[in-house]
């Protein structure tokens, strides 16, 4: 995940994401936006899991699974 900031991507806190390379736009939900902003800050997976658990009432197993799933989606769309 260390190259996420090398991508030319416009990201707004409202959850709108524009990839300047592909021209594709994405809408992130609240949790995905939260995770994406943490990734932009350079946080690793463990730190992100902790931040989510601190901010949302959710099971750690679900968080870890959903985080992996979200990162896979980012990779699929060449966003990280």
């Amino acid at each position: 995940m260390d190259n996420i900031n090398n991508k030319e991507i416009t990201f707004s806190e409202k959850g709108f994401l524009f990839d300047h390379n592909s021209g594709l736009t994405f809408t992130l939900n609240k949790t995905a936006s939260f995770i994406y902003s943490l990734l932009k800050q350079g946080k690793n997976k463990e730190e992100i899991v902790k931040e989510i658990l601190d901010n949302f009432d959710i099971d750690v197993i679900v968080v870890k699974r959903d985080l992996e799933d979200f990162i896979l989606q980012l990779k699929e769309f060449e966003l990280c």
Partner: protein, 345 residues
């Protein structure tokens, strides 16, 4: 403000829009000279926009030949001298290329590709050019009757294209037949049949002068008309796509304006060249708004004036077309149909 008289063709701005009006929009605010529309039909929609055009003259259809075009231009310049003509339609380019020496003698400049270049990138030779130079292109067959389509190895879905304009994606033999007939009636034979590539559609506009790329802007199509024309788009900075454009320019030894139409297979991450058009695209105003005024560059290069290449542009800039009703007095139509001209200023 620039004080040259510029004439621009391709002024029909329907659902298959020609590039003339966006070319004029790129120049209008910089111009104190006359901007003259050269139209083929009294109902070419853009000619009624008196905020963009100073004068409009009807010219003979490309099929009437170059001599008839030359005579008409000679008549026009008796009324209003022209410094530069910017032809924007594929179907007329050959006539203008042939007339270039004659028009030069009349003091009219143009910035065009050569006849050889025009042929090299034509839809008929595109697959051959791509194969020879290591570019991906959809499998293509040039046909003159529907039997050839049935006997070809190309499988549905396909894209059926006219030699100059229009393209229809088809998903059955019946749709293929309808598209074939529709295009045959309008644009004649041959018809180009291409393998349908599923992916994201991109366009690049570029301008080349003596081997030097004066500017290039890439755009992803966001919405298409049923004729496959971009109705909305967004500027992008896909470096692979921009490098592909440079490679194509180099291999063709291109000179002049160019539009590269590309399909990106998003699964295989491969780029397929769909078309190389020898003119500015109808979305050229987006490139101007993004920071590269290529129509201005065309005028300056035609006049042999210095022009420094553009190096950058704004990505993430979107265009969306929408239809506007222009309301005009009856004498506009009267002047065009009886005198072949419309003088606003």
């Amino acid at each position: 403000m620039l004080n040259y008289n510029i004439a621009v063709t391709g002024l029909n701005a329907t659902d298959n829009p020609a590039p003339g009006i966006p070319v004029i929009r790129s120049l209008r605010s910089l111009w104190s000279g006359k901007i003259i529309g050269l139209a083929y039909d009294a109902l070419d929609t853009g000619i009624y926009d008196n905020n963009l055009l100073d004068q409009v003259y009807l010219i003979p259809y490309p099929t009437d030949g170059e001599e008839s075009l030359l005579q008409r231009i000679k008549e026009i310049i008796k009324k209003t001298p022209i410094d530069v003509i910017i032809p924007t339609l594929d179907s007329e380019l050959l006539n203008f290329i042939h007339l270039q020496p004659e028009l030069e003698k009349l003091g009219i400049k143009m910035f065009l590709p050569t006849e050889t270049l025009l042929a090299l990138r034509s839809k008929i030779h595109l697959q051959e050019f791509c194969l020879k130079n290591g570019f991906n292109a959809p499998k293509t067959k040039i046909i003159n009757d529907l039997g050839e389509l049935k006997n070809s190895k190309l499988k549905i879905p396909l894209v059926i294209k006219g030699i100059f304009y229009e393209a229809y994606p088809v998903f059955s033999q019946e749709e293929a037949q309808v598209a074939f007939q529709k295009i045959k009636v309008k644009w004649g034979l041959p018809i180009i049949v291409q393998e349908y590539i599923l992916g994201e559609e991109y366009d690049v506009v570029a301008l080349v002068n003596n081997g030097e790329c004066m500017g290039k802007v890439a755009m992803r199509k966001l919405a298409l008309t049923e004729k496959g024309k971009a109705w909305a788009g967004i500027t992008v900075k896909d470096q692979n796509l921009l490098e592909l454009t440079e490679e194509v320019i180099k291999k063709l030894k291109w000179n002049g304006p160019m539009e590269l139409e590309v399909m990106k297979d998003t699964v295989k991450k491969k780029y397929y060249i769909l078309e190389i058009n020898p003119r500015t695209p109808s979305w050229i105003y987006l490139a101007t708004a993004a920071g590269q005024n290529l129509p201005l560059a065309i005028v300056k290069l035609a006049l042999n004036k210095a022009f420094f290449p553009y190096n950058d542009y704004q990505s993430g800039l979107t265009f969306v077309r929408h239809a506007v009703d222009l309301v005009c007095p009856i004498n506009y139509l009267e002047n065009l149909t009886t005198q072949g001209e419309l003088i606003f200023k």
